[in-house]
Amino acid sequence: MSLSVHLFIKADTLFVRLTGELDHHTSMHLRDRINSLMDKFEIKNIIFNFRNLSFMDSSGIGVILGRYHQVKQKKGILVVCELNSMIEKIIQLSGLYKILVITKDEEQASNYLGVA
C-alpha cells in the first residue's frame, strides 16, 4: 500500500487528508505536493487528518515538523487530528505535541482555526 494525498484549501487553511502509509518514500511526494500549494496560495494554517493513515514512522515526523516551521513563519498554526494509538506514540516521543495543536477530528480542528 502506498500513500494517497487529498488536499484542499478553505480560507487560509490547507487541509491534508492522508490514506495509506507515510514513510520516507511517500513523504517526499507529500512534501512536494504541499510545498507547491504553499508557493501558489496564501496558506497560513495546515490541518493534517490521519484518519485513514495506517502507518507512519520518523519520516512522517520530519514532514510534519518541516511544515510546522513553514506555517510558523506566517504566524499560522499546524493542527493534527485523528491519531491512532501507534501514531500517537510516535508523536508523543517526538515532543511534537508541545508545539502543535492536536484535536479529535477535522471538525474540531476547523472550529479551532475558525474556518468551519
Binding site: E21, D23, H24, D57, S58, G62, L65, M86
Partner: protein
C-alpha cells in the same frame, strides 16, 4: 497449545526508497502465522522501516547499494537483522541519542534509532566506518505464557 515451527528468511534488495514498504510487507507476512497482535505487527514494521530508511539515506546517501534483511522466529521470539555495506557510523553513542541527526536539512529529526530501541525488547547495533552497519532487534510475541501454560 500452539505448536509453532521455527522459521528463517533472508532477503537482499536494492537500497531504494520503494523497498521500505517492501521490507515492511516481508516482516508482516513472516510473522502472520505466529498470531501477533496488531500492535506487535506495527512495532515490527516500524522497526524495519526505520532501519531500512537509515541504510538508504545515511549508509548509501541515496546513491543505492544492497540491504540484507534476515528474519528468524524461535518459539515466540522474533529476530530481525538489517545489514548494509555503506559508510558506517562514526559515533554510535551520539547516533543513538534522541534528536541527534546528521541530516537536519533533509527534514530528519533523529528519532529512528530511539524508536527501534523502544519498540524492540532487545536492540543491538554495530558499525564500522567504510564497511557498514548491522542492526539486530529481538521481540517476544505476547503468547509466551500461553505456550508454556
Amino acid at each position: 497449545m500452539k505448536s509453532k515451527r521455527n522459521n528463517y528468511a533472508e532477503v537482499i534488495f536494492d537500497a531504494i526508497s520503494e523497498n521500505e514498504a517492501f521490507a515492511r510487507i516481508i516482516v508482516a507476512g513472516f510473522v502472520m502465522p505466529l498470531d501477533p497482535t496488531i500492535d506487535e505487527i506495527n512495532e515490527l514494521k516500524t522497526i524495519v522501516s526505520e532501519a531500512v530508511t537509515n541504510s538508504i539515506i545515511h549508509a548509501y546517501e541515496n546513491k543505492g547499494g544492497k540491504i540484507k534483511l534476515i528474519i528468524e522466529s524461535y518459539i515466540n521470539e522474533i529476530t530481525i537483522t538489517v545489514i548494509d555495506y555503506g559508510k558506517g557510523i562514526e559515533d554510535l553513542n551520539r547516533a543513538k541519542e534522541l534528536f541527534y541527526t546528521t541530516k537536519p536539512e533533509e527534514e530528519r529529526s533523529g528519532m529512528g534509532l530511539t524508536i527501534m530501541e523502544i519498540f524492540a525488547d532487545e536492540f543491538y547495533i554495530s558499525s564500522k566506518i567504510g564497511e557498514g552497519t548491522i542492526i539486530k532487534v529481538k521481540k517476544y510475541l505476547h503468547y509466551a505464557n500461553e505456550l508454556y501454560a
